[in-house]
Symmetry: C2
Subunit: 784 residues, 2 copies
């Protein structure tokens, strides 16, 4: 402990010693970047430079993480700074709209900071001038777009350099105002990541229309599955008090192309639809509008009863339909660009159309009809499974039940894996055109690894929207460094074969394959009111990656990591390289130390913190880890082939084929589909048990390696974040061992096989691990 | 709304345009302070100066409030900067202890920042050298203290300038290491507030030993009566993760002399005493120790049952006594300087000794005996009142019941005012020597104005500890600017006459009068995890004022405000003068627009937000506003003279005499002690009703005036905080009118008298005000 404390004494965060390259107490160096500057030619220049550097070294540089990837510090490569500075000497940026105004101010402020100068604003062309706008605000831009970028669409943007009237221009252009804002952020990103701006000729448009953050934030300001403090929405103080965070939230989202926010929890509260709260929502919408971000709300299905005084919420009841229509009229009178509703219906206790003997179509279309006149949409979640408590044995259910496991567990509930598909595919093509079905990436629930949901590709006449989870409910919560882009990409790049080979999930949702008129991607937010937004500094990377992928899912995980690191930490090659390696390895690490080889849903009950593979007493069978891993004396895994639940039948034959045979099935999905003998021979020749043990160990080893990588960056990262991540990696390492120890001890009671050499042994008994309780683990039950 | 939004666009907080005096977009001025610098003699110097100023203007200066009063920005008065800089050219500061190490680093960093230079550390005397330490670390200091400050005691400090061996020295000296840290902060304060450091000869010691913040923070991270986000204690991540806030919290507290923190809610949770949580508490204690801050915990009386497996928590049961003794041994093995327990027993549903037929003495002494071997103390709260639900009529109670009010209300519950006195005075002298009885400043519960608690001065053989509430439960919660020092001072300076004239409350608690060996002052914290700690920027002033007064209650409110403003906002005379006036007026304003003339406890139920004088259906009579104001056709107010509850008898005769006669009673306490006719003639000749109306209006008027004062500072305050406080003052103004309107409309139903001219009329009906509900108001029921 003393070492940690001592490190802290040597830090001083809201004091003055913090700077990019070290602290006052570290020594007399005046150099900020660690490189010696080499172009001090004249004495005055040298004095200037020294002074600047000295001042910079003394300035308050609290790297508390609040600035996210929008740090815009002075370019610390002198030759690059000189290059940029001579290329940008003025700007032309008419601002006839609020969006163009915020875009211009962003550009002015951030360039001012990065280039260390105030750019003059001109109205006529000048050499080395930055010209930004739309065809409406500039004939040069009108000409450029029509001649060179005729296909530029929507809120896409162009960054282009050219000579006009003998003057070198850098042009940020778009057809829409929001496009200009996106272009501004893209241009700033080039500078922040030290890219060349000399010969620009690039354009970018999004492949997905609705790029949305879903906040599972309650009106109490607790956050379901939130690990970053309280909700950033201070409902009590709205509308009178506009927290600066709202602005910075909007800026951060706009910078990565996110254009919508569902501000309330899917486990909804009707009260947000009352006039008192709608005034508050309106205030948020007013803040977000210039940044191109629409506000959405979650609609509680029972709202007409809860707050409307009706006796029913039956979607076919005309009074109910009128109530929602009136409610939508009221909302749009306050928020003309209101986005629409996200609805969790008939799922985990939430009311829905089935409560009244109606269908998902009846429910979704009722909302759709009320929203349609105003241009609003419905995002209807496909995350449904029979909400009735299940007992040990099969209930009278239309679904095929899972196989009964021999002697150890008698669970025979329907396979939850299959339920969304079973409930939704019958309604394909029956939803209104302003309905999106929002589907979680996998069939269960945001596990470290899931096969893609079989719904993707199975509803060709219905627009499907992707739901990813940024908050790390099952990925180490607030303390594990897990970069999620590889997880997102794995799903997006998975081939559904829905329209033959190459029908990736990405193509299903971006409508390139299906031609759906409405497209969307949602990410369940990992944002709270902790100073750095996400608590774990690397949680910011997942927010960033989600936005970037929603904008352009063809980007690679590595490319996004590279961008994010440079903007968030440093452009130094050592830093970029080490962090990129860590980030790229981190997702496979968490899979390995938590749920290798296709294990899933074996975490602690309710709060989902830590391992709990032994849990078997939840009120529903399919809330129990034992339901999912089905370990017994023979082996482990959930048989989802024809001898089991046959969930595999929900996939296209080509997909099914990949996973059908336990000997050829990709081992990373093995236990998702097969009940495997402990002595099953794996591709590397080891037994399954040995492989399982090795995978757990490998996960732990990767975390240890990540710790080393991080430590190798001592002195290259600001002290506050360096210490912070060091502590978090220590927790992650301990918890990885905890997972390994608890799971292997438990599974060993079935396999009765020895832990192979090289795999760490548990320092506690299984009983000890079973005895651990965490009544106030955050993210559930009102704990933060 | 557009104006607010627009203001935001022009702000850029985690961007670069923020600086002390304006933003990039405001114009080409290069000057930071608003004054023209005049001493640019040589060209190079001029260039340097310009460069510095330019850089400063571009540097990130996010005035998000996180830095509190510890900003230590560069001294912006050039001649003063030059003066300071030439007076301090090096320092001698040996650091043989963690405390001296943090003290030195603080000094080094903060002087580095304020003087814009790195001070060399020397080991031998030099001219213009700063020498810091204790007699142990420096013979010069040993000599100084013994010769000139022999009376310096405890953690007191000395700031002294002298010539030694022909060298000019500035000496920061103390007998203890913590005293040196306090001296460092006092010295830094001189510079931050632009005081002279030329001829220093001052010493300061605290009059109160235990200067403690009480956190009503739950293990879930919700905060009872908290209005600043979640608890700063992230229990789930402790001990592995040390939030930077913990360090900065310790620094801030040490800077004002606070030396203890009760980290858990008085409505306690036994779980914090389990080994899992004690490890977390230990980690906090380790962080705080070098800053001289001890950790205390709240002890739930039923812990031996809750977590100890015992059948009883009877304080006379030997097994219970042994359990607490063992628990204390366990705690001290982890935290050798653990402070002790704060206990809320037999109050508002909390268990206590009376649960087992025992007395407060039995309970407190049991803890005292367990803690005594380790040097720990017990803070036993006197905030008790019969917890049994009361019905309309008097219950069989030993206490004298309050008079039954004529025809309107038939309440005849015992007077809650009297209960702490009734329960505690019989035990005077019966508590162990390591017990402090912690008494709220007034007899009810932290109202905008209360007479001092009659316990002060009534337990001469028992050390009493003051409990103030910093969090504004009854003072506008998160949004009202109310500077509390005048409230604190009013109580501290009140004369109890316990030992004749001049026996002020302050003298009772600082033991000057009573000679008590143990002294203490507690402030219920207003701190949360919002970026600026207290949500309202002026909430910081209350934290600051509490610390300063706990250190030295002879300081004036104005003096403390002056210090705080200069450190927190600016040394500019216009700013200091305007803010000081606002702050000094703010407490009387809240009294007037909420509870003028002695009204009390007439706020909303449970959450205590907004006016609710009509409330009469709480489960206890004394939770109802009607119980306190007793308005009827005749008049209003609680008769606490001999014709009523006779609570006045609990005061010394001289005090009683001041308040006994409704015609001579200080009108600010009138309704605390008298049931007054609506037409009662006030000292200014008006009827009581007119006066009441005028006072409400006057409260509103003061807030409007505060708004004007604040607006007059446009451009002199950083934009983020300026906008923030502007919005908050707007809310305060609306809520002040709400209070006026709702209360006057309601009381008018009794007085049946017209609203006098000049008093604003309500724009809503009484029914409207009664209809308002705030189910998720923060600070209660798990809402944040």
């Amino acid at each position: 402990m003393w070492n940690i404390i001592r490190t802290f004494y040597e830090r001083s965060v809201f004091r003055t010693s913090e700077r990019a390259g070290g602290s006052l107490s570290e020594g007399p160096s005046l150099d900020l970047s660690g490189k010696r500057t080499t172009f001090s030619r004249r004495p005055v220049f040298r004095i200037l430079l020294l002074t600047c550097t000295l001042l910079a070294s003394l300035q308050l540089r609290a790297e508390d993480g609040y600035r996210l990837w929008l740090r815009y510090d002075r370019i610390d490569d002198p030759s690059l700074l000189a290059q940029y500075s001579s290329a940008i000497t003025a700007m032309i940026f008419p601002t006839p709209s609020p969006t163009l105004l915020v875009a211009r101010n962003e550009l002015l402020d951030d360039l001012g900071s990065m280039l260390n100068k105030k750019l003059p604003i001109r109205t006529s062309l000048a050499d080395n001038c930055l010209l930004a706008g739309t065809p409406m605000t500039s004939p040069v831009i009108a000409q450029l777009l029509s001649s060179k970028y005729p296909g530029l669409s929507g809120d896409g943007y162009v960054l282009h350099t050219q000579q006009t009237e003998g003057k070198h221009l850098i042009i940020i252009a778009a057809r829409s105002n929001i496009g200009v804002l996106y272009g501004v952020f893209a241009f700033l990103r080039l500078l922040q990541t030290h890219q060349s701006i000399q010969d620009l000729s690039l354009s970018s448009s999004s492949l997905i229309q609705r790029r949305i953050l879903d906040h599972w934030d309650n009106l109490t300001r607790t956050v379901e599955r939130g690990y970053a403090g309280a909700s950033i929405w201070n409902w009590h103080l709205l509308p009178g008090y506009i927290d600066q965070r709202y602005i910075d939230y909007a800026r951060a989202n706009a910078s990565i192309g996110i254009n919508g926010t569902v501000v309330t929890n899917v486990n909804a509260n009707s009260l947000v639809l009352t006039p008192l709260y709608l005034q508050k929502v309106r205030a948020l919408a007013d803040v977000f509008r210039p940044y191109g971000i629409r506000v959405y709300l979650t609609a509680k299905f029972s709202a007409p009863v809860d707050i409307g005084g009706l006796k029913t919420a039956d979607p076919l009841d005309p009074a109910v339909q009128k109530w929602w229509k009136d409610k939508c009229d009221e909302i749009y009178s306050l928020i003309p660009d209101f986005g629409g509703f996200l609805v969790k219906a008939n799922s985990e206790g939430q009311p829905g159309p089935q409560t009244y003997g109606r269908t998902h179509t009846d429910g979704a279309n009722m909302f759709a009809d009320a929203l349609a006149p105003h241009g609003g949409i419905v995002m209807w979640r496909a995350f449904v499974y029979d909400a009735r408590p299940q007992t040990g044995h099969a209930d009278a259910d239309a679904h095929k039940t899972a196989a009964i496991d021999s002697d150890t567990h008698e669970i025979a509930a329907p396979d939850r894996f299959k339920q969304a598909y079973a409930e939704f595919t019958p309604f394909d093509g029956k939803f209104r055109s302003n309905v999106l079905i929002q589907v979680k990436n996998g069939p269960i629930d945001f596990q470290p690894r899931e096969p893609f949901s079989p719904l993707f590709g199975s509803m060709p006449k219905t627009p499907l929207m992707m739901e990813f989870q940024l908050t790390q409910e099952y990925l180490g919560q607030g303390t594990h460094l897990v970069y999620e882009a590889p997880l997102f990409k794995e799903v997006l790049d998975a081939d559904t074969y829905a329209n033959g080979k190459g029908s990736t999930v990405a193509k299903i949702i971006d409508a390139a394959a299906s031609g759906a008129p409405l497209t969307g991607m949602a990410g369940v937010s990992n944002i709270g009111n902790e100073r750095n937004w996400t608590s774990h500094p690397f949680g910011q990377a997942n927010w960033y990656a989600f936005g970037r992928l929603a904008w352009d899912h063809t980007l690679s995980s590595r490319q996004i990591a590279d961008e994010w690191i440079r903007q968030t930490f440093s452009n130094q090659a050592t830093v970029v390289s080490a962090l990129e390696k860590m980030m790229m390895a981190s997702r496979e690490a968490v899979v390995n130390y938590m749920t290798p080889l296709g294990l899933h849903h074996i975490m602690g009950f309710s709060h989902h913190y830590g391992p709990g593979p032994w849990l078997d007493n939840a009120s529903r069978a399919d809330w129990n880890p034992v339901y999912y891993h089905r370990a017994d004396a023979y082996g482990i895994g959930f048989d989802r082939t024809a001898t089991g639940s046959n969930a595999l039948a929900q996939y296209q034959p080509q997909v099914r084929q990949q996973w059908l045979d336990s000997n050829t099935c990709d081992e990373k999905f093995l236990l998702w589909f097969h009940h495997i003998s402990w002595s099953h021979k794996m591709k590397d020749g080891k037994t399954f048990w040995e492989e399982l043990c090795n995978r757990y160990q490998s996960g732990v080893d990767t975390v240890k390696w990540m710790q080393q990588q991080w430590q190798s960056l001592t002195g290259l990262i600001d002290k506050e974040r360096f210490t912070q991540v060091s502590m978090l990696l220590d927790i992650q390492e301990k918890e990885a061992e905890w997972w390994r120890n608890a799971c292997l001890l438990y599974f060993q009671t079935f396999s009765r096989m020895p832990i192979p050499p090289g795999v760490g042994h548990a320092d506690q008994t299984l009983e000890y691990y079973k005895s651990l309780h965490f009544p106030y683990a955050p993210g559930s039950g009102g704990s933060l």
